[in-house]
Each structure stands twice: as structure tokens, then as C-alpha cells.
């Protein structure tokens, strides 16, 4: 196996491991809603939740990088340029993440000056990592971009997919840098912070996963390059055509001019279109190739991605993207419901699909077999749908009671939190969380032992 593919396996393995941390800390965070004074003063909710969402960002980034390093040599026909540096940086990256997590959990709070920002915690959602680590992440991104650009140059081959992938490297780095200065004025701070959060998850990452799944689709189903590329360009046009100004759905209430209510509302309401397009594409391709594949789990996770992305990001996002509704739903468990469904549906599912493809190819398995993957697939999807359903119930009651009736005061908020509809949703959320965690362990075990179990000796393989 060449170096780039080895690195791909490493990053994907790290991503799956990080998903474990994501889920365990999520489950832990959910208990705070059920038990008064849980871990108070020892490991507070904010720290647990912070580890939870940072694990999510890292798991996604590692998953994307793993997939890119894995597919790059196939697409370009050469070993990736500068792979030695990239392999070194992998270990630096892993070590840095470990240090950050230890600091979060054991140091918890820094001093309220620049040194606290550099060494302990920047205290801004999703980008809490201290500045030294953020600088490291930029170095990793730059190396990734260099690997891709230099390899394309050396191979003298710019495929359509590579063209789009190269383009995504620009916003990946640019909006990360833009969000850094963190000015004192919270309105300005949030203005730029949303460039990072929205432009990453609703534009840059959508296109990155689009490229990754396009490559996966060609391999998995043998879809023709021309068809895949036309779809990809269409996706780029629609995702960016709606998503760039769709940014406005985060500019309703932070002090921004009123015209954002209409601009954000209209453009973000169109954001589900490209996601619907991908569902159509997936179903069409699956039908055309009569779903013949030697890797059923990868194929089904790919389909789960198409639907999860459309429903979790598209429908759940649309539900509260119009300002008339967002005025009340904004910043409640309703938001959390969409956040979970979207990240899971759009990214986690896609990464799992690629992980199955990589496990198959790297271990020379002809036909993926066994039943474990079925349990993991069913458990994770049922658990996740149940969880976001529960969160939706809690979120709606919170919006009605805390916001609409209570006017968002401290009293109104607390009234909403002790309401029985709200509490039942929270209990159900933790219950489904347990199902998700259990299914995750089956998934991790299956990926780890695939092709290393007795099935390897099955007749199908014996002949190869």
C-alpha cells in the first residue's frame, strides 16, 4: 500500500476513535439535564459540552482528511507529493488534540487575559481550542492543501473533482483565519464567527464531502465520471448559490441590519435544493446499477448520507430558517435537534461509508460480510432519529413556554426547563443516546475486525 493510503487509514481510524469520545461526552452532557447538581464544581456542563463539540469538529476533519489521502493516489495515479511531512504531522496533530483535551478537562479555565486565550481556552463555540493549537491546525490545513496542489501539478491532471476539491481548500483556511481576532464587540465577533461556522458546514464541508462521495460513488457503483462531475458542478452552483447568502439566517438577531431578515430567510430557504438533488442522484444511480455492490454497508451508509443530509440539514434546517419562526426557536433545544441531525446525516454517515470502503480495500476483502454492520447501521440510525425527535419535542415546548409565553426572561427559561414535555424529551434523548453509544461500539468492533474474522475463509474469498 502506498504512503498516502496508509495515512488515509490512520486518519480514518483516528476519526472513528474520536467519534467514541464525541458520543461518550455527549451522553455525559445529557445527564446534566436529568440530575440536579451533577458533577457541579468538578466537571461542569460547559466543559463536558465543549469537549463534545470539539470532538465532533476533529472527528469530521480527520474523516475528510483520511478520505482525501486515501482517494488521492487513485484519482491522480501517483503517490501524493509531500506525504512524508503529512505523515509526520498526523502524529503531531493527534498529540496536540490529546493535550488540548487533557487541558480542557483538568485545567478547565484560564486567566482572563491573552495568555488564557493562548494556553487554555478561547471560549468561543466550536473553536475553544487554545490559540497555539489553532495555529497548529492551520499548519495541518496548509500541508493538506500543499499535498493536493503539488500532486495535481505533478500528475498534470486536473479532473473536475480535483478542481472542486482544490477550490474548497481556500475557504477551509480563509474563514478559519477570519474568525480569529475575536473583537470585544460581541456583535462584530459573531458576525465573523458565523462566516466560519456557516461557511464551513453549509458550504465548504458540503462540497468536500460532495467530492469525497463522488469518488466513492465511482468506485462503489462504477458510475461514469461524466455523470458524477456534472452533478458535482450542479451541486457547487446550488450549494454556493443559496448557501453564501443563506449565511443571513444567522444574522437575524445579532445587531445586524434588518434586511438580513429577508435575505437570510429567502436564500436559506432554498438551501435544501442541492441536498434534494443529491438524494435524487443517489437513488437514480443505485437503481441504474441495480444496487450491485460488494460492499453493502458502504453503499447503505452512502444512501443514509443522502437522506440524512437532506432531512437533517435541509428539512430540519428549513423548519426554523424563516425569521418568523426563528424568533422563537432560535437558541433552544430545537436548534440542538437540527444540529445533531445535520452533522450526523451529512458528515458522520459519509465518513462511516468511506471507512467501510477503506477497510474492504486495505484488507483485500472481496465481499463484506457478517451481521454486525447491520446492527450498527440500524442502531445508530434509529438512535439518532429517536434522539432528534426527542430534542424536537423539548425544543418546541421550550420555544412555546420559555420564549413565546415567558418572553425569554430567567424566569421564563426556568419555567420551560421544568415543564414536563421538556423533561420527557430530555429523558428520551438520554435513552436514545445509550442506544447510539452501544451501536457505536458494534460499529467500531466491526470496522476493526472486518476481514480478520473467520469469514475471511469463506469460499468467495478462497478463490481469489
Amino acid at each position: 500500500m502506498n504512503q498516502s493510503k496508509k495515512l488515509g487509514v490512520q486518519y480514518l481510524t483516528a476519526s472513528i476513535v474520536m467519534m467514541g469520545a464525541l458520543l461518550l461526552f455527549g451522553l455525559l452532557a445529557s445527564i446534566f439535564y436529568l440530575k440536579y447538581g451533577f458533577l457541579l464544581g468538578k466537571l461542569d456542563f460547559n466543559i463536558v459540552k465543549q469537549v463534545h463539540i470539539n470532538a465532533l469538529i476533529i472527528a469530521c476533519l480527520w474523516g475528510f482528511m483520511g478520505a482525501i489521502y486515501w482517494f488521492l493516489p487513485d484519482e491522480l495515479g501517483i503517490e501524493t507529493v509531500g506525504i512524508g511531512l503529512a505523515r509526520l504531522l498526523f502524529w503531531v496533530f493527534v498529540a496536540a488534540v490529546a493535550v488540548v483535551v487533557v487541558v480542557f478537562i483538568f485545567v478547565q479555565y484560564g486567566s482572563s487575559d491573552e495568555s488564557g486565550m493562548w494556553l487554555v481556552n478561547q471560549g468561543r463555540k466550536y473553536v475553544e481550542a487554545p490559540r497555539w493549537a489553532a495555529v497548529g491546525i492551520v499548519a495541518v490545513f496548509l500541508t493538506l492543501a500543499y499535498n493536493i496542489f503539488a500532486s495535481v501539478a505533478k500528475a498534470r491532471k486536473v479532473t473536475g473533482i480535483m478542481g472542486v476539491l482544490m477550490t474548497t481548500m481556500i475557504p477551509l483556511i480563509a474563514v478559519y483565519l477570519i474568525a480569529f481576532p475575536a473583537p470585544t464587540n460581541m456583535s462584530v465577533d459573531l458576525y465573523w464567527w458565523w462566516w466560519l461556522v456557516h461557511m464551513w458546514v453549509e458550504a465548504t464541508w458540503e462540497l468536500m464531502i460532495g467530492c469525497i462521495l463522488a469518488l466513492a460513488l465511482m468506485k462503489l457503483l462504477g458510475t461514469s465520471r461524466k455523470v458524477v462531475e456534472i452533478w458535482l458542478y450542479l451541486e457547487v452552483a446550488l450549494v454556493l448559490g443559496t448557501g453564501i447568502l443563506g449565511l443571513g439566517h444567522h444574522y437575524f438577531w445579532i445587531g445586524t441590519p434588518q434586511y438580513w431578515l429577508s435575505i437570510g430567510g429567502i436564500f436559506s430557504a432554498l438551501e435544501p435544493l442541492p441536498l434534494l438533488g443529491m438524494v435524487v442522484h443517489a437513488i437514480y444511480d443505485a437503481g441504474k446499477h441495480q444496487m450491485k455492490t460488494h460492499n453493502k454497508p458502504a453503499f447503505l451508509w452512502l444512501i443514509a448520507e443522502a437522506f440524512g443530509n437532506f432531512i437533517g440539514a435541509g428539512i430540519w434546517g428549513f423548519m426554523m430558517t424563516l425569521p418568523q419562526i426563528n424568533l422563537y426557536s432560535h437558541g433552544t433545544q430545537w436548534t440542538v435537534s437540527h444540529g445533531h441531525f445535520a452533522f450526523y446525516g451529512a458528515y458522520i454517515t459519509g465518513i462511516i461509508a468511506v471507512a467501510y470502503m477503506v477497510a474492504q480495500e486495505s484488507r483485500g476483502i472481496r465481499e463484506v460480510q457478517g451481521n454486525a454492520w447491520k446492527w450498527a447501521f440500524a442502531g445508530l440510525n434509529i438512535g439518532m432519529v429517536g434522539m432528534v425527535g426527542a430534542l424536537l419535542v423539548s425544543g418546541m415546548s421550550e420555544a412555546f413556554i420559555g420564549r413565546a409565553l415567558g418572553g425569554s426572561t430567567l424566569d421564563g427559561f426556568m419555567a420551560s426547563q421544568s415543564n414536563s414535555w421538556f423533561m420527557q424529551g430530555m429523558i428520551a434523548r438520554t435513552g436514545f443516546g445509550v442506544i447510539i453509544v452501544a451501536s457505536y461500539f458494534i460499529l467500531a468492533w466491526d470496522l476493526l475486525t472486518l476481514g480478520r474474522r473467520s469469514e475471511k475463509l469463506s469460499p468467495a474469498l478462497a478463490t481469489t
Binding site: 439535564y33 440536579y36 457541579l40 464544581g41 461542569d44 456542563f45 460547559n46 466543559i47 479555565y109 482572563s112 487575559d113 491573552e114 488564557g116 486565550m117 481556552n121 471560549g123 468561543r124 475553544e128 475575536a182 470585544t184 464587540n185 460581541m186 456583535s187 462584530v188 465577533d189 459573531l190 458576525y191 456534472i230 458542478y233 457547487v236 452552483a237 448559490g241 453564501i244 447568502l245 444567522h250 437575524f252 438577531w253 445579532i254 445587531g255 445586524t256 441590519p257 434586511y259 438580513w260 442522484h281 437514480y284 424568533l327 422563537y328 432560535h330 437558541g331 421550550e398 413565546a404 415567558g406 418572553g407 425569554s408 426572561t409 424566569d411 427559561f413 426556568m414 426547563q417 421544568s418
Partner: protein, 209 residues
């Protein structure tokens, strides 16, 4: 022999470059519009720029949040002088205390329980209008035996563990008095930002617990 469905699902059936150029043109246009809107938005967002965000010295004044029938939304109203901690902050002093307050908020990871303008976490109440919350006068001032709202806030922020009143409790984040004052000033300023009516009906509604 192309079937009709193939035409629908394989757009253009011809040259991918047509679609590529379309994607580039769409993106470029949208980015241009976003840049123009950003220039205008930053003007409105700059503190003391005459837009929606008052200067930091607004902490020397009285702030209320009232329903404005003309625009059909709740809006902050800046009134006459109402000093904070009995002190009239100069422009430089106000800037310094805001810088500090923001760093305290970041260093203690407040937004991973609370939210500002609805952004953050939802485990604890949104703090956008916390300064204006009726509870300070109704409950916290008597409880902390403070004479002013700001003193009650400082007391609470320094020792939240002493006042376990609600369904959830805030941990003690070891704020010094200086840090607690800075956060209080920050909360007063942020309550003056005009937010297109969010949160709606704040302080005008009451719900039974």
C-alpha cells in the same frame, strides 16, 4: 437510444464545462453581494457608529427594552444618566472594562452553558437582556442584600453557589471582584444592542412555574 428520464437526471448530457462555468459565475456573483452587504453591516455593527450598537459609554445611561409599535418589535431605549457602580466611565475606561469583560466571558467558557443573542448553549438562560431581567430586583437584590442591581449581579457572579434557587445551579467560576464587575458592565452594554426584536416580549410576559 436515450430515454426521457436520462435527459432529466443527466443534465446537459453534454459538456461538464458548461456546468462548471455556471458554478463559477454563480459563486462569484454571490460572493460579491455578500462583500457589499458586509461593508454595510459592519458599519451598522460598529460600537458607537450610529447603527444598532451603542458606544460602550452607554453603561453610564439608563437602558430599557420597550415595544415599538411603528416597527412592530421590541427595542432597547437609551434614557438619561444612570451610573454603574456610581462611576461615570470615560470612553477609555469604558473600553477597558469591556475588553476585560469579554475576556472573562471567554476564559470561563460562559457560552457553553449560556447564550448571547441566542448563540451558545441552552443549558442556562440567554444573557442578551440579562441586565434588564426583572428577577434582579424581585429576587436577587433582597437575597444578596445588595442596594443596586449591579451590586447584586457582582455578588451572584462571585458566589453563584451560595444562591441555589432554580432547577439548575451555576458553578463557582472563581471570578475576582474586578472580573465580576467587568462582566456586569459587559452585560449592561450588550442589553443596549438593537436586535430586530429578539427576544420578543422580554420582561412584558410572565409564565407560571
Amino acid at each position: 437510444m436515450p430515454e426521457s428520464t436520462a435527459v432529466v437526471f443527466e443534465p446537459g448530457a453534454g459538456d461538464p464545462r458548461f456546468w462548471r462555468d455556471g458554478a463559477i459565475a454563480t459563486t462569484a456573483f454571490m460572493l460579491l453581494v455578500l462583500l457589499l452587504l458586509t461593508v454595510d453591516s459592519l458599519r451598522v455593527l460598529t460600537e458607537g457608529g450610529g447603527g444598532n450598537v451603542p458606544a460602550y459609554t452607554v453603561i453610564n445611561q439608563k437602558i430599557t427594552y420597550e415595544f415599538d409599535a411603528a416597527s412592530n418589535m421590541d427595542k432597547p431605549v437609551i434614557g438619561g444618566e444612570e451610573l454603574l457602580f456610581g462611576h461615570r466611565y470615560s470612553e477609555a475606561e469604558a473600553k477597558a472594562i469591556m475588553d476585560k469583560g469579554k475576556l472573562v466571558i471567554q476564559s470561563r467558557s460562559c457560552i457553553n452553558c449560556h447564550a448571547f443573542f441566542g448563540n451558545g448553549a441552552y443549558y442556562a438562560p440567554d444573557l442578551t437582556k440579562a441586565w434588564l431581567d426583572p428577577t434582579w430586583e424581585k429576587m436577587w437584590m433582597p437575597m444578596t442584600q445588595a442596594k443596586t442591581r449591579e451590586d447584586a449581579m457582582v455578588q451572584f457572579l462571585m458566589h453563584p453557589d451560595r444562591y441555589p434557587t432554580w432547577a439548575r445551579q451555576m458553578p463557582n467560576l472563581n471570578l475576582s471582584e474586578e472580573e465580576a464587575r467587568a462582566v456586569t458592565a459587559y452585560l449592561k452594554w450588550i442589553s443596549s444592542v438593537q436586535t430586530n426584536g429578539f427576544p420578543a416580549g422580554f420582561g412584558r410576559r410572565e409564565v407560571a412555574r
